[in-house]
């Protein structure tokens, strides 16, 4: 069930409508049941994987909570990690790694053809696996007590707004909220609905409209000159931001209506100054997950400058692999790792020697950050490393502004640019608020006019035949 579908609107009304009328004791079973229905709308049997992982994690956490020797506790933790990552590996990475090994084997003359599984990737598996792992690791570290209720733990994993593409929640943040008695709060419900509306705008008006151009170029990279490749990449930068942040907005808004605050996932990332800043604004719940469960266990920044940078590179390598079983994602992760390491090197060796009056103005540093992030998106979006290399080559050796392609229908491009301008302007004015200030004037008629304008823009220029959210594939 896609968030950008009428099925979801009906589902939302069906689940959220009676929610506040239900006695408190019935609310968790209600949410659990509907969350299962939501997930099973894709491939019903895939829920068995969630049940399997959650059951193992439930018993492992109980065992960890009971104490025992450090070695025994490590064994329990290892069982949970092997189970969660094992399932993820088999479904997402087995074919990639085995296929790559076979390719390397063929190149080196060791010919072998291992069997590939060709399994369908269960939707949301990367997200719920990370949530499950964070739960057992938090229990292991003593940051969160093991759940006594299996249903409560299952609801933490299955809670439908964030199940498919995050935000990646932590047990200590979400479970107490699921337990608390949510009262109907006019302001919260309104805020939630407005955030959902803004999410729909970003998805239907901007992301899906940009996709029409981006797909046209990236599906046939050899047909286009460098100026077109660059424009498509700039568009993709906005497409993926609007697509993914729209999902997060709809998820967070839906939960907010039910009285639950999900973790924030984006904070105007393209206004970042520097790559550390970018990653503190982009997919925040993933960045903090890697910080807490990969970077810090590797030593973080506690063992000197060079080991810190090694850890950064490793984290971004893993982050690339997390995004997808393909060399393009691996290279994308490594590219971001290299950007961060370069920034660290600059800050340590160059910046102290440059007089402050010579340092670049804020807008230039912001533009430079955007340009580097945008160029890295080529690796993320291209279907293969070869395609990415071709697009880079076109951008830098065959720019040919005269050959710029404006799209099969220039209207789509015009609408998309309008949508980007609205999102950029609104975000510029929002100054990091929960949702755009456009929707928060004190005067009710002005506020309502803003809501109604957004709805009418969706009706008039939204793409209603668009596809799924990009991050569903992860």
């Amino acid at each position: 069930m896609l968030f950008n579908s009428f099925e979801f609107v009906l589902f939302f009304l069906l689940v959220v409508g009676p929610f506040f009328a239900l006695p408190q004791a019935w609310r968790k079973p209600w949410l659990l049941g509907w969350s299962a229905v939501f997930y099973m709308a894709w491939i019903p049997i895939a829920i068995l994987l969630i049940l399997f992982s959650t059951t193992i994690d439930y018993f492992v956490a109980r065992a960890l909570d009971r104490g025992g020797t450090p070695a025994r506790r490590k064994w329990w933790l290892a069982l949970s990690l092997i189970t969660n990552f094992g399932v993820l590996f088999v479904f997402k990475y087995y074919d990639f790694f085995i296929g790559s090994a076979a390719s390397i084997g063929r190149l080196t003359g060791v010919g072998f053809e291992p069997p590939l599984l060709h399994l369908v990737l269960p939707i949301g598996i990367s997200f719920y696996t990370f949530e499950a792992v964070s739960y057992t690791v938090d229990v292991y570290r003593g940051k969160y007590p093991a759940e006594r209720s299996y249903a409560r733990l299952l609801l933490f994993i299955l809670y439908f707004p964030k199940l498919i593409a995050g935000p990646i929640e932590r047990a200590g943040h979400l479970i107490p909220q699921l337990e608390a008695k949510a009262r109907f709060d006019y302001a919260r419900v309104r805020d939630g609905l407005v955030q959902i509306l803004w999410g729909f705008f970003k998805k239907l008006v901007v992301a899906d409209r940009l996709a029409l151009y981006v797909d046209g170029v990236y599906d046939h990279p050899t047909h286009h000159v460098g100026s077109t490749a660059l424009l498509a990449t700039v568009f993709f930068a906005f497409q993926i931001y609007c697509d993914f942040s729209a999902y997060s907005d709809i998820a967070i808004g839906t939960a907010r209506v039910m009285g639950i605050d999900l973790l924030r996932n984006f904070r105007r990332p393209y206004f970042a100054v520097g790559f550390r800043d970018f990653w503190s604004r982009w997919h925040i719940t993933l960045s903090t997950w890697f910080r807490d469960y990969v970077y810090q266990p590797l030593g973080g920044n506690r063992h000197g400058f060079w080991r810190t940078n090694r850890n950064v590179l490793l984290v971004f390598l893993v982050s690339g692999v997390w995004h997808g079983a393909s060399w393009t994602f691996v290279l994308w992760g490594m590219a971001h790792g290299c950007l961060l390491v370069s920034e660290n090197l600059w800050d340590r060796f160059v910046s102290p020697r440059v007089p402050s009056r010579l340092s670049a103005p804020l807008w230039l540093r912001r533009a430079g950050t955007f340009a580097a992030v945008m160029l890295a998106w080529v690796l993320f979006r291209a279907d293969s490393v070869g395609d990415a290399a071709h697009l880079y080559a076109q951008m830098f050796t065959n720019f040919d502004l005269g050959g710029l392609y404006l799209g099969a229908d220039v209207r789509h491009t015009a609408y998309a640019l309008f949508g980007v301008a609205v999102v950029w302007g609104v975000e510029r004015l929002s100054e990091g608020g929960i949702y755009p200030r456009l929707f928060a004037p004190r005067l009710k008629p002005v506020r309502w006019l803003a809501y109604a304008s957004v709805v009418m823009l969706i009706v008039l220029i939204g793409v209603f035949d668009g596809g799924q959210f990009i991050y569903f594939q992860f």
């Binding site: 009428f6 506040f20 109907f184 006019y186 419900v189 309104r190 046939h220 050899t222 047909h223 209207r411 789509h412 015009a414 609408y415 309502w448 809501y451 109604a452 709805v455 009418m456 009706v459 008039l460 220029i461 939204g462 793409v463 209603f464 035949d465």
Partner: protein, 319 residues
């Protein structure tokens, strides 16, 4: 909670009013723009060309008009290969003023292959007025009825164009025809033509039948034409031949005369100077082609009008 429910109702009323106002304004604007499919119908053309981009760019309606000495209009719309679309336009055409002759530009996708039904959205502004259009647009998605509760939604993706056209006071001097400029560059042109395949799509065949019967029910002669493509590789030629056989079979059953310029292999259309790309003629090619096709159409114009054998269904549904 009560306050929330009242707010929701008040906001719904505001939205309803905004939607009605926007829809009504766009309804009034539509006839003044070249987006309006009925624009050409108001001229009561005697020869109407229906089809996709290959109709739009290939039939110079002004040339056709001069050559035949009767009013002509090109109703081709780029991207509209499906007979569902043509059936809807034909139904609008006969409801406004039936022409003497309808030229249906066909290709493999007329009877086979996959089509993106989202392209049918250009018909949405007319769904209330013409039952056959409603029948077609409801096939776009199962939620189309819900979407059509909005008065503004039929203008989704059209509104900006309409406003720009109105501001520019766009005119249509070439009677629907749009000329393509430039020449086919055989070195640069690497895109293989799309092939529909020879496997018939029952829905398309059904709608093609409804289209033909609907026109004939109003005394309109129907001729199917497949305009030239640039000679391609042997594999593409073979695919084109297979499509020809599929088209000829279906059109034969419907007793529709079929002139295929793709397989005719005319020397005029073996020259890349007359093409913009492999599938489309440029302006020079289109003018030449129109002269040839006009001469081919004369016998059919002279033929007696078909008897209205099968009346159109009142609800516009194609069964």
């Amino acid at each position: 909670m009560r306050r929330f429910v009242l707010s929701c109702l008040a906001f719904a009323a505001l939205l309803w009013a905004a939607d009605r106002l926007t829809g009504a304004a766009l309804d009034r604007l539509l006839p003044h723009t070249t987006t309006d499919l009925r624009r050409g119908m108001r001229r009561h053309p005697e020869v109407a060309v229906l089809g996709s981009s290959r109709a739009l760019y290939h039939y110079a309606a002004d040339t056709l008009e001069r050559r035949l000495g009767m009013r002509a209009h090109n109703f081709g719309v780029a991207g509209q290969r499906s007979p569902l679309f043509h059936r809807a336009v034909a139904a609008m055409l006969v409801a406004e003023h039936p022409p003497r002759l309808a030229v249906l530009e066909v290709d493999g996708f007329t009877v086979a292959g996959d089509d993106d039904l989202s392209h049918l959205s250009v018909l949405l502004p007319y769904w209330r007025r013409y039952p056959a259009v409603k029948d077609v647009v409801l096939r776009r998605s199962r939620w189309e009825r819900v979407k059509l509760l909005s008065r503004a939604y039929p203008y989704n993706s059209l509104a900006l164009n309409m406003v720009v056209q109105r501001l520019r006071r766009s005119t249509d001097p070439r009677l629907g025809f749009q000329a393509l400029h430039g020449r086919l560059d055989l070195r640069a042109e690497v895109v293989a033509s799309e092939v529909a395949g020879a496997r018939l799509d029952p829905l398309k065949v059904r709608y093609l039948g409804c289209l033909v019967r609907g026109l004939r029910a109003h005394g309109v002669r129907v001729v199917a034409v497949r305009s030239p493509s640039f000679p391609a590789s042997p594999a593409e030629r073979s695919a084109a031949d297979a499509e020809h056989r599929a088209l000829a079979g279906v059109l034969g059953e419907l007793e529709v005369p079929f002139i295929d310029f793709t397989t005719a292999d005319l020397p005029e259309f073996r020259d890349p100077r007359f093409f913009r790309d492999r599938a489309h003629l440029n302006e020079e090619g289109a003018t030449r082609f129109t002269r040839i096709v006009a001469d081919s159409l004369r016998p059919w114009l002279a033929a007696p009008a078909p008897a209205a054998a099968v009346p159109a269904t009142e609800d516009g549904a194609c069964r």
